[in-house]
Amino acid sequence: MTDLAAPGPADRPERRRVAGVTPADGPARVSAYVCEAVSCLSAQSHEVLTGLGAEVAQRGLTDVEIKRVGCLGLCAAGPLVRIPETGQLFRHVSPDDLGALVETLATARPDGQHEAEEPFFSRQMRIATENSGVVDPESLDDYLAMGGYEALRKALTTMQPNEVRGEMKASGLRGRGGAGYPTGLKWSTVAKSIGSPKYVICNADEGDPGAFMDRSVLESDPHRVIEGMAIAAYAIGAASGYVYCRAEYPLAVTRLKKAIRDATRGGYLGASVMETEFSFEVDVRLGAGAFVCGEETALIASIEGGRGTPTPRPPYPAVSGLWDRPTLINNVETYANVAPIIRNGGEWFAGIGSATSNGTKVFALAGRVVNTGLVEVPMGTTLREIVFDMGGGIVDGREFKAVQTGGPAGGCIPAQFLDMPVDFESLMGVGSFMGSGGMIVMDDTSCMVNVAKYFMDFCREESCGKCVPCRVGTTQLYILLDRITTGAATMEDLAQMERLAGMVQRTSLCGLGQGAPNPIFSTLRYFRDEYLAHIVDRTCPAGVCTIEPLPVPA
């Protein structure tokens, strides 16, 4: 079933096999962790790694370790290098200017005292991303050293499948892909469904523009995801699984495939996992640039080799999914939480977060905020804390206007709600949606009508075309929004748009069409004046939309 015997041209990682420097004898006095996730890599962090290795060798510093790690989170300031022994973080490190860093490495005498961390880091509680920026994502040994696969061992050797499911239920973990469906309940449904073989699928098709949490976890800690899938497979009675990963994430795919190969060789995957009777195989399937394939049934259609068009639910995949068999589909971040829950117990997880939303959530902070990157915080943390305390506020000191959450099905949340706790229910209460965790911060240079049009353009392009309301409705809604942003609309058009948006939301076949009108509803709710300015006054308050003046009769 697996196709991992030998890497093909796309699988072969670029020359990164030699990564870092390990002291020859004994533990290192001090280490430099260099981020090699895609953002830092594109700013030459690999050259930083090799450069450091060379300089350290040249100066004869044999008690220094230079290590490749995954995402350190503060992507805006990359390439990033962290010295864990002192807590120092070096930003914007250039391979041509390593002097200060090497000096620090040469002279540091860590005494357990840590530099005070800035709020971006200190306010985080890392569970799903606890290994990101700590382990070498291409080393199974490193993962094992951090307690990797211990949760799987615990489950396989000391727990029955229904006990594993019990812990997931007790944890209160809800799906981290957006819908927030109770994970324990989903696992139980699949376990109880009749049909064989059963499948475990990881949805790594992170399509929300502006969201990169899943990419980060896959690039930084792929074994964690595999371990989560294996535990799930044991709990529901499956022996094979797939990771469906979007083609736009080649590094994630490469690291994932390597992790699967290494885990299989190490006996953590394959037949007789860790010498028990449990067997589990995982294969990777590539997406091909279709946002709609993030929807469960479309994803299944894609793995089956077809066009990614959704099918009506019920039946739900848990009952009848991949090749009509009971199938568990969970998001990357959801799986990343499984091992800690099994290790520490469901009750521990339930004690974190808010009443209805347990645990933590990884958010991708992007847009007009100073500290763009990834943060993991307990559910219930306020927007203000995330955007201002941790995010450092708006770039250039401009004024906060809104934060967009939930991707194309989400909504824009204005300043009046900055003190609201971020959790599933609260976000829905203000007309938005958790989504996968993307948080785009907007300031007064963003036009909210333009934002609504942007998302409708996205939905129109990504509509699979199967159902009438989404296929034609998103095009018609786009035309209306375009008229508004070019000063060609009337109040009647606005009324038509609201009417049509309601129909599309209620009659569409899947979440793409159902969610497509949401940015319109959300921006109309809080920024109606901007719409009226475009229509009645024919101006764009944010100065974004180009509105031609009306021709004046001679």
């Binding site: 009506p312 509509s463 075309g465 009438v468 296929r471 034609v472 095009t475 018609q476 569409s508 076949l509």
Partner: protein
Amino acid sequence: MTATVYTLRINGQDVAGAEGQSILSVAAENGIRIPTMCHLDGLTDIGSCRLCVVETAGSNKLTPACTTMVSEGLDVTTDSEQLVEYRRMLVEMLFLERNHICAVCVANNHCELQNKAEELEVDHFELPVIEPLVGIDASHPFFAIDHNRCIMCVRCVRVCGEIEGAHTWGVMGSGIDERVVTDMGTPWGDSTTCTSCGKCVQVCPTGALFEKGRSIAEGSKARRPFLPYLHVLGQDSGQA
């Protein structure tokens, strides 16, 4: 196989349905008419036109009657004002999507789309026509397709795949740009898989697929003595 029977309500009427029976089927048995378009008896239901969506008590989601199976105690409403309003808008969407010019169409007065508009009292459009540039393929010796009249119900794709087994018809592209297509986007007349059975023409609800040699308003398919019972569940075939 258990023959479980459920009792449920449709529009206040108590009805019975068997395990695995759709709401649409049970409704039809009881004389309750729900407008449909992509549905055709004998073909797998795909729930794509959304015309048959119904309300069920206890949920604010609308579900298609053709793909939703009955269950015990279901309380269905098929004809609320809101549903009728949505159906009108869906029919309007279809008319605006391509270039439907009934006056010069072979299926004028024999068209299921026209029948739907009449039934739902759609007499004008609120929104603009999209006017895509789409073509005609008349390369086949007996049949032709005019994409300007196609509503993407994909009955042709389903009948060609599920009943004839030729799989000549497929769908290419995505979203508003999708089209039905023969083989690899090659002319129908060059098809290496088509058996010329004509089933696709028989099932097409509009004048998109038609038999050559028929003129405006004559109807897109010939009346054939060996197909006297061609009819669709609760709908007329569009023939005179």
